[in-house]
């Protein structure tokens, strides 16, 4: 049963991030997600310092605010003439450093150590349970289900608008689609995803799961729907394979899942290259006949 919850949590992380990651790749905002995954720490520490509790709800609020703040600050610096990569680099390292410092100063004794935030401890997930509607499930599973619902709702409501705002922002703005609102709404959902996932799997794996599966799907997908489906599949596959590999070697589950994401990408890219090469030689052979 314990193993079931851990695997389920991993699966949910893979699927949720797989969905959220598609537009992230298409909108070329992968590094902003990386930045948010670091600055979420700052939001969580601030939430703790203000409320003095480790209440999941306030942490979600704090993290979401930190995520939007990150997106906003990067945008602000970028629009005032600082190149984008440097803007991202300055904002997330500063906020992350502030978060680490605040933890050592004010929250040293509570269950808020930085390594936990970074690497997570998915193996502890089953012991922290919530009962809602007479159903008892691990807290992480509840949070992830909630965020998955939010992400799906966001997509169902704004799919057409997001698509247009991603591929042709100027046209989208001209026909009255609120492009800026969508940008920040999307950033908010990314922050929610990050905070729901990081408690169980850590910030680093969140980014791997956000970028990796959708990047792998992006390699060969022809349509956006195809990309969504494969991204979810890859996310789920990486979490399951990663879990059992980690169990086999008795090492960090989150780390192993991230490594599996990388492995999936490399295998896909290489097999794509091989197929391409075969096709080319076949064509040249046919031409010579």
């Amino acid at each position: 049963m314990i193993e079931f919850w851990v695997v389920l949590t991993g699966l949910l992380v893979g699927i949720t991030c797989g969905i959220a990651g598609v537009f992230l790749i298409l909108r070329k905002m992968s590094m902003i997600a990386d930045a948010i995954s670091h600055t979420v720490l700052f939001g969580i520490v601030m939430a703790f310092i203000i409320t003095q509790t480790l209440n999941g709800f306030w942490m979600l609020v704090g993290a979401a605010i930190a995520g939007i703040l990150t997106a906003y600050l990067v945008q602000l610096l970028h629009s005032s003439g600082i190149q984008e990569d440097a803007a991202i680099g300055v904002v997330f390292t500063s906020l992350f450093a502030a978060g680490v410092l605040l933890i050592t100063l004010f929250a040293g004794n509570v269950h808020l150590d930085v390594e936990h935030v970074l690497m997570g401890e998915i193996a502890f997930v089953p012991w922290d349970r919530w009962t809602l509607f007479a159903v008892t499930m691990p807290k992480a599973v509840w949070m992830l289900l909630l965020v998955l619902l939010i992400n799906i709702a966001f997509l169902l409501l704004f799919f057409k608008e997001m698509k247009l705002a991603t591929f042709d922002p100027v046209y989208a703005a001209s026909i009255g689609i609120p492009v800026v609102f969508l940008h920040y709404g999307f950033m908010t959902s990314i922050s929610f995803t990050t905070v729901a996932a990081f408690d169980s799997v850590g910030a680093i794996l969140v980014v791997a799961m956000l970028i990796g599966p959708s990047a792998t799907a992006y390699l060969f997908s022809k349509t956006i729907k195809q990309m969504f489906i494969f991204s979810m599949l890859f996310g789920a596959a990486a979490s399951i394979v990663g879990y059992y590999l980690a169990k086999y070697w008795d090492t960090s589950i989150a780390g192993m899942m991230a490594a599996t994401v990388g492995l999936l990408f490399v295998v896909t890219l290489c097999s794509q290259k091989i197929i391409e090469h075969r096709r080319k030689t076949l064509v040249s052979k046919l031409e010579n006949m």
């Binding site: 590094m31 990569d85 300055v90 390292t93 500063s94 680490v100």
Partner: protein, 290 residues
């Protein structure tokens, strides 16, 4: 207060800041800042693997391991960008997290092994300048000096490479070799810095001084000097503050000092917000008169 060791650590982090300020400027101008971030994260698996394979925690061995995986990550990013339709940002993010994930996997194995428990490898994540020994510092001095010297030596060539690569190629400069040297130096800077600043925040030392210097000047030579100065000042001040209060990691404080300098520059520099606002007001006044 200023014990002998602290003085040397201060000089060490200052040299590190200067070296990072210089190489960071070049990578900033090539729009490669975040590649440095990935390379810094990618040092972690190298450190852990070097320890696992040799069982020693001698700094040179760990540094070689870190350098190999860092360089490999930069190579992977370039390979993915040129051989697939992936954009640079996705490639950087993917490589960064995957390498760091692998690093965590190895680190967990190290921490569980009986010898690894006290290895102090965890310090490499956030850096702890205070734990540096004399021989560690010697390595830091040596490699920081090499980085600074080589950068000064190749200043003219890199300048041309960054601002007019086609012309540089035209007059017969070995472009690929120059680019590779720059990458090697950036990796060297990262590897030199991780013990003091840690793998996660090392990239800040490459990015923030350069980005701050850019706000003050548009001339490469003055930008390099400024960036080096900002890096050096951040290194010294940050280490000093973290030495006063025990239990604070050095990395975050150095970064916060640097980012304070950045945000101050962002407002008061010639290209800064206050000046911009004043100019806007002036234009508006002129408009009223008319």
């Amino acid at each position: 207060m200023l014990s002998g060791n602290l003085l040397w650590v201060l000089v060490g982090t200052m040299l590190l800041g200067i070296a990072a300020g210089i190489t960071g400027t070049f990578s900033f101008l090539q729009k490669q800042s975040l590649v440095g971030d990935a390379a810094a994260h990618a040092a972690l698996p190298g450190i852990a693997l070097a320890f696992l394979l040799t069982g020693q925690k001698e700094l040179p061995i760990l540094m070689i391991g870190a350098a190999i995986t860092s360089a490999l990550s930069v190579y992977c990013i370039q390979w993915i960008v040129s051989f697939s339709k992936m954009k640079a940002d996705a490639a950087i993010g993917l490589v960064l997290t995957v390498f760091f994930g692998i690093g965590v996997v190895f680190l967990t194995i190290v921490n569980r092994s009986p010898i690894g428990n006290q290895s102090g490898l965890n310090n490499f994540i956030f850096g702890k300048a205070a734990t540096m020994t004399k021989s560690d510092l010697l390595w830091l001095f040596l490699s920081a000096t090499i980085i600074i010297l080589v950068s000064l030596l190749l200043y003219k060539e890199w300048k041309l490479l960054i601002f007019d690569a086609v012309y540089a190629k035209g007059i017969g400069l070995p472009i690929e070799a120059l680019k590779a040297t720059l990458t090697v130096l950036i990796v060297m800077t990262i590897v030199t810095g991780i013990q003091a600043v840690g793998v996660i925040l090392m990239s800040a030392l490459l990015i923030i001084p350069a980005a701050s210097a850019k706000l003050w000047t548009n001339k490469l030579s003055s930008m390099l000097i400024l960036s080096a100065a900002i890096g050096g000042i951040s290194g010294i001040t940050g280490t000093f503050i973290s030495a006063i209060r025990t239990g604070l990691s050095t990395g975050p404080i150095i970064v916060l000092v640097a980012s304070t300098i950045f945000f101050v520059s962002y407002f008061i520099s010639p290209a800064g917000q206050i000046n911009k606002f004043r100019r806007k007001m002036q234009f508006r006044k002129q408009g009223d008169v008319r």
